[in-house]
């Protein structure tokens, strides 16, 4: 957490710098997509033009965990995949946040079997839970915005000294915003 430790907590320089750093962090959250199942499709839909994740400074999905700030666990995590997920989390540099997207990543979902980890939050810290099977892109965006709001308020150094999982659960929002009309004809005309 480098620079945060070098500064006194409340000086003018520190607070201005803190606002600037928080702004930079929240405006360029690069997500690491850990898409292992169907939720990953919705994650791709969120990144594509209609929902446009790039609006939030996520122009680039970071496929290297070392350059990512936000781990999006989208899908079932199998017992063989869990060590991989932990390794990816460890490779990310601070500050880092984790979104658990969908019922499976948060709880194992309907896959209550020997082969599926029953919630990744047992083994890695999770900041935001986005419910749904799969969550709509609006829900995922809501989860990302929750993290952005948190970053804006985050202390420098973080309040209490160390960062802890935020444990934010997004409320289901089922009101679909109006969809643009598309001129598609299906079948023979």
């Amino acid at each position: 957490m480098g620079i945060e430790q070098a500064l006194p907590a409340q000086g003018f320089l520190a607070t201005t710098l803190q606002r600037f750093i928080n702004f930079s962090r929240r405006s360029a959250l690069w997500p690491m997509p850990f898409a292992t199942a169907c939720c990953g499709i919705e994650l791709m839909a969120t990144a594509s033009s209609r929902y446009d994740l790039a609006r939030f400074g996520m122009e680039r999905m970071s496929f290297s965990p070392r350059q990512a700030d936000l781990l999006i666990v989208a899908g079932r995590v199998g017992i063989k995949m869990m060590p991989v997920l932990q390794r990816i989390y460890q490779q990310m540099t601070e500050p880092r946040w984790v979104i658990s997207m969908g019922a499976c990543a948060s709880t194992g979902g309907v896959f209550d079997t020997y082969a599926t980890v029953q919630g990744v939050d047992q083994f890695i810290p999770v900041d935001v839970y986005v419910p749904g099977c799969p969550p709509r892109p609006e829900m995922l965006l809501e989860g990302i915005r929750a993290i952005r709001r948190h970053i804006d308020e985050e202390g420098l150094p973080p309040k209490g000294g160390t960062r802890v999982p935020l444990q934010i659960a997004i409320e289901p929002t089922h009101e679909v915003s109006p969809q643009p009309a598309v001129g598609l004809t299906v079948g023979a005309t």
Binding site: I79, K80, M82, P83, Q86, Y89, Q90, T93, E94, R96, D112, T113, Y114, A115, T116, V117, Q118, Q122, F123, I124, P125, T162, R163, V164, P165
Partner: protein, 185 residues
Amino acid sequence: MPTPPTLDHPTFAIVRAEFGDARLRGTEFRGQSTLIVEPGDLHRVMRFLRDDERCAYDFLSDVIGIDYLGYPAPTPGRFAVVYNLCSYPRDDRFFVKVFLDPSLPTDGVEEDPALYLDSVTDIWPGAEWPEREVFDMFGIRFRNHPDLRRILTWKDYPAHPLRKDYPLRGRGERERYRVVDRTDA
């Protein structure tokens, strides 16, 4: 009242004429015919099914294991391995089934000499991965298989998870990870 199977698939007669000495049984369900062979006869019957041009089953679609523990009807054995054969020249499908009975308790991973079959990888090279899957999930091993390792779980996995006496939720395999926290890097 179940209708008795109609064993009118032409392959039955061909195989019976060729292997008069072997113990063969047949069954049929909704137009899909299954030949049940003894484990010792499996390999030569399979080779015949591919090479004879009246059969010409040149494609092995799948190899599947079944555990009949707790099955409501009596079965000839606890485990079965089913070979799903397909003939492209004749546009036909046929199933070959082998029953096996374990000689050791089935809750572990010990090598059971009774759960052995001859591999058909020399007949259909594509059998390699399905046979590894049957081995991984049921602990049925294949003689002369070129690379018989587990394929879905890892090497030291403590069970064969599709055996019916293995609990659905496992024996804690999904819980045994160390907890990574934010200070880990």
